[in-house]
């Protein structure tokens, strides 16, 4: 719970998860480093295909194998390297110490079993309780996540609930064994905006009362701003910027982060059109050499095309993977000027 605790809960070091397909090796995650402290929310943001989901599945040990494989790196969780554990040992951690909720609440619950059955299953797997006690705890969990009439809902099937309710059930299920870490992979993407806010609020409340850490994976900077303490920005299988949430929004130092910020509307600025980052994410089968952002970057030079930069600490708790981050200041000023003229 101690936010300033020296010992991080999760420490990911140089994680590389590759997929060996017929077309070639897909380097979905190619050297990711970050830490999550107990009770902290780490936001992981990036476009589709940047490797954020594969990173989370690697932590869970749920990468489909074959074709996927963690080829390098460590995932230290409370002093154990999860990459070294057997499937059997991982199963004791999954759903117990680390649990996960997914993007699609509509399809994430098994349609042929009742909600109670599915929550009880998780409880009975990790706690030594009988069926009745597990059901009682399931009802309690449903109540905690704000589902009305939990005694009745517990006997219903997923198709009888709305998307928002199903995501609440998923949250109830994932928290039923008091996890230290909850990985949320785009938990609100498939939901209506009003429901999104409710779910995020619920997650923030539960985080307080359970004292767990959250790894929030999203492509939505709004969600990041709402819940995160620290943020890792990912691009093409790597973390490109890693800092606390205030700094990220006030003073982004990587041209990609800056591009992302410009592509969302801001209340205090009037602009004609929002700026999109030109081009699209390169295919993981065919990454450009050097810095992987060089084909879309306004600051790219020959150096960027040849040598890939390392993640560099530029100030206390702020890391950036860019050769020219200092020059970003110039672009920021230019943009501010044009905004003023208009």
């Amino acid at each position: 719970m101690n936010f300033l605790s020296k010992e991080p809960l999760v420490q990911v070091k140089g994680l590389k998860t590759h997929f060996f397909t017929e077309e070639g090796v897909v380097k979905a995650v190619d050297g990711v480093d970050f830490e999550i402290n107990p009770g902290e929310t780490l936001g992981v943001v990036g476009e589709s295909g940047c490797g954020k989901s594969v990173t989370s599945l690697s932590i869970m040990g749920l990468v489909e194998s074959p074709p996927g494989k963690i080829v390098e790196g460590e995932i230290n969780f409370q002093g154990t390297d999860l990459t070294k554990l057997s499937q059997k040992e991982m199963r004791k951690i999954r759903g117990n110490d680390i649990s996960m909720i997914f993007q699609e609440p509509m399809t994430s619950l098994n349609p042929v079993y009742t909600i109670g059955n599915q929550i009880s299953e998780a409880i009975m797997l990790h706690k030594k309780v009988n069926k009745e006690e597990a059901k009682r705890q399931s009802i309690e969990m449903l109540e905690k996540v704000g589902i009305p009439l939990p005694e009745q809902r517990v006997n219903e099937y997923p198709h009888q609930l709305s998307g928002g309710m199903r995501q609440r059930v998923m949250i109830a299920m994932s928290l039923s064994c008091d996890p230290q870490l909850l990985i949320a992979d785009e938990p609100t993407t498939a939901l209506d905006v009003t429901i999104q806010a409710q779910i995020l609020e619920l997650m923030n409340d539960l985080k307080e009362s359970y004292g767990m850490a959250i790894m929030m994976i999203t492509h939505d900077l709004g969600v990041i701003a709402e819940v995160s303490d620290r943020v890792a920005v990912m691009y093409a299988g790597k973390v490109v910027e890693y800092t606390d949430v205030e700094t990220l929004f006030k003073d982004p130092e990587h041209p990609y982060t800056w591009g992302l910020m410009n592509s969302i509307p801001k209340l205090d600025q009037t602009v004609e059109r929002l700026e999109a980052i030109p081009g699209s994410v390169p295919s993981p089968l065919n990454f450009p050499s050097g810095c992987k952002y060089n084909n879309r970057c306004p600051l790219a030079t020959d150096k960027c095309r040849e040598i890939e930069p390392e993640l560099e600490t530029i100030s206390e708790g702020h890391q950036v993977r860019c050769w020219h981050y200092k020059e970003l200041e110039r672009l920021k000023n230019e943009r501010a000027e044009t905004a003023k003229i208009k």
Binding site: M60, L62, Q87, R91, K92, I93, R94, G95, N96, S99, M100, F102, E104, T107, S108, L109, N110, P111, V112, Y113, T114, E121, A122, L125, H126, Y157, H159, Q160, M170, M173, S174
Partner: protein
């Protein structure tokens, strides 16, 4: 659930009505002279008698609805006419042959369903392994063989060469035992009767005769169920809720046998209806190939001898069975899938 079954049962008479209309229109496509044979109990009536007079007597020139009324009332009273090919009334012919076919069908369906699903799941779980490839090679072979070719092959190898599994229903000595006073035919199914009479020689003997036809029927539909189960299982294993189950820490065994299999069976149940239809067709061929005295053999024999009453009787009987089986399929659908049950 009970409501669902009741609703289905209420529709049943309407479906049967449709079936009778269909079968009757088939009868009406024949001329009055041809149709006369379906109303004759004893062929000797035709000799010397005035055929036109008989046509008038049986009302074969009457408007179709009057004839339909008479035919249906006959069917309702269990009177399906005289079967020339069997030399007895159609109802009796069907009743005496039904236990044999029922016995065969039950013994064939069990390995088809259990084995097919088991192998299908195995194949999907070991997706693209050696085991999966082996199973798929055998299923492709099984599926591509026509029943009559495979039946003849089985007969040739296991009877002609090895002498293990003879055709027919029983050996002559066993037939004598079954016909004797000391043996009570409770059900007409020899395996069951053998057990009930405590005569295990009969059980063994009738099994030896059953294995060939069972194998022939099973091999085709085995491959069918296996393929459907495999592809459905593969699809289910990539579903989000399987990932959820794994994320809960559920072991791979439970993931497959609890979370995936039940969902994967939904499409399998859907094809079970058409499969039964195919099985009945297979029964006709298999029984003929193996000289197995059952309904299928009777149907083939009636068709070959243009025994209209026989054909129509068997057709009626098979459609009735199909309706019942489809009802069973729909009910099991609802048992497996709550989304259907609670609609």
């Amino acid at each position: 659930m009970i409501n669902y079954i009741l609703r289905r049962l209420l529709i049943l008479p309407f479906i049967l009505f449709g079936v009778t209309i269909l079968i009757f229109s088939m009868i009406m496509m024949l001329g009055p002279y041809q149709r006369l044979s379906t109303y004759i109990e004893d062929p000797s009536q035709l000799k010397g008698g005035d055929v036109d007079q008989l046509i008038t007597k049986y009302g074969l020139d009457d408007p179709w609805y009057e004839q339909y009324g008479r035919w249906v009332s006959g069917v309702l009273q269990g009177d399906l006419g005289w079967s020339e090919s069997a030399g007895q009334p159609v109802t009796e012919a069907i009743a005496s042959r039904f236990p044999a076919t029922f016995e065969l069908a039950i013994f064939a369906v069990i390995p088809v369903v259990m084995g097919g699903i088991w192998l299908g799941v195995l194949s999907a779980v070991h997706h693209n392994d050696k085991l999966d490839h082996t199973i798929r090679i055998f299923s492709t072979i099984g599926w591509s063989f026509p029943t009559f070719v495979f039946g003849l092959l089985v007969l040739m190898v296991f009877y002609g060469i090895l002498g293990w599994f003879p055709p027919g229903r029983l050996d002559n000595w066993a037939l004598t035992v079954v016909m004797s006073d000391g043996f009570t035919e409770y059900t007409g199914m020899h395996v069951l009767d053998g057990i009930l009479n405590g005569n295990f020689d009969i059980v063994v003997n009738s099994f030896r005769h059953l294995i060939g036809p069972i194998f022939t029927l099973a091999i085709v539909w085995w491959s069918f169920i296996l393929r459907i189960t495999r592809s459905s299982m593969l699809e289910t294993l990539s579903k989000d809720y399987i990932r959820t189950a794994r994320a809960k820490g559920v072991s791979e065994n439970v993931v497959i046998n609890k979370h995936a299999r039940r969902n994967a069976l939904i499409p399998v149940v859907t094809v079970a209806g058409p499969m039964v239809l195919g099985l009945l067709g297979g029964v006709v061929i298999t029984e003929t190939v193996f000289g197995y005295r059952g309904l299928g053999q009777y149907a083939a024999q009636a068709a070959a001898q243009l025994d209209y009453s026989g054909i129509l009787g068997v057709a009626m009987y098979f459609s009735f069975l199909l309706i019942l089986i489809n009802l069973l399929v729909d009910v099991s659908y609802a048992v497996i899938d709550p989304r259907i049950r609670l609609e």
